[in-house]
Amino acid sequence: MLLLWIVPLVGQAQFRVVQLPSEPELLNHLGVWNCILYGDPALGDERVILHFGPDGSTRIARPNENTQRPWAPLSRWQLEASQLKFIDSRVQRSYTADLVRTTLGGGWEAPTLLGGWWCSEAPPEIAFNILISPAGEPTFMTQPLIPEVMATPRYPRRAIQEAKEGRAVLCFQVDSSGRVKDPHFIELTDQLFRGTSLDALMLSQYKGWSDAQSVDNRPACRSFVYQLTQIY
């Protein structure tokens, strides 16, 4: 009897070895963020600054627009579980972000369009100084990231065999030395494309803009479109 009682306990103990992930910590979204918005065929990629206030306010600034009054109001931000939501009613876009991620970003939806957005935390003084300054171009945000190495992913063999096409969008941070850090999938049509997309991205390198180990990471995203052409 004792043996019968012990055996199930041993089984349970073995199961307990498997460690469950702890409750995810939510990202604090309050503050100023240096962001890119992609996916709008008319506007192309946009670089903007977003500000989330503790009073629930959301503001957006586009560096190339009015530098005297840079901030335009958006809807108040809302939190639903781990989802941050706000709306830009001018362009009828609903933005969402999962705050479980290590940085701010997610997707946006308009009546006929879909896209994504990704941000790096911006020191407030940098954002304000750049936007308020009336003289010259705001260098911090207009300087493009220059790819030095762009690795092309291999097309997964199984995907070819199964005639699968697909798309992956990865967003990430680029540090001041040009290295890619902290990639996240924003879109992934098939798990077959996960590994190759990630491998190619991590082999890529951008031109650095500072030797100092500064914290001014910059956001970027890369899409991979996997296509097959019949050749017979």
């Binding site: 070819i160 991979f224 479109v225 097959l228």
Partner: protein, 170 residues
């Protein structure tokens, strides 16, 4: 002699996409487990076994004997022709193989293995459109067959050119 015979031929070539088959009752369990059950036509059974073992010449000889020394049913003739097709394809004689497969299909138009074997023969010849055409028919008859799926993968690998387009958003 219309007695139904059961003989199986599932032979793994290097690619293992070619199919011999068990003749007689299409729904029999032995067909599904691909075992060889000696039926009335011992030559066909022995031929199928030889081909499965990779002895294609002997398999062809025995199968041809089975076709001439017995009077197999229409269905068994179709199976035998399909097996000959598979053996010739395995020997690298796709043109000869296609003739046997075509004969097999004429006798039994629902013989998905014959379509699959002929698709493989076309694949060997580099005639991928024809291969896909036959494979589509085989798929319509039996979409779950492992050999059909495997051959589809081989054709896709040869006939589809992959391309990855990258775009940076920043």
């Amino acid at each position: 002699m219309n007695r139904s015979i059961l003989f199986g031929l599932i032979f793994s070539l290097t690619s293992s996409v070619l199919w011999g088959q068990v003749a007689g009752n299409e729904n029999c369990m032995s067909c599904r487990v691909r075992s060889i059950i000696g039926g009335g036509n011992e030559f066909l059974s022995a031929g199928a076994f030889s081909i499965r073992m990779g002895d294609y010449e002997e398999g062809i000889r025995l199968t041809e004997l089975g076709l001439t020394r017995y009077q197999p049913s229409l269905n068994d003739r179709s199976v035998a022709q399909s097996n000959l097709c598979a053996a010739h394809a395995a020997r690298g004689e796709p043109v000869v193989a296609i003739e046997y497969c075509t004969e097999s299909i004429k006798l039994q138009e629902k013989n998905w293995r014959a379509y699959n074997n002929r698709a493989y023969s076309y694949y060997l010849l580099g005639q991928l459109s024809e291969a896909v055409f036959d494979l589509d028919i085989a798929t319509q008859i039996n979409s779950d067959a492992r050999q059909v799926i495997q051959l589809r993968g081989m054709i896709n690998e040869r006939g589809l050119r992959p391309r990855v387009i990258m775009e940076d958003h920043q």
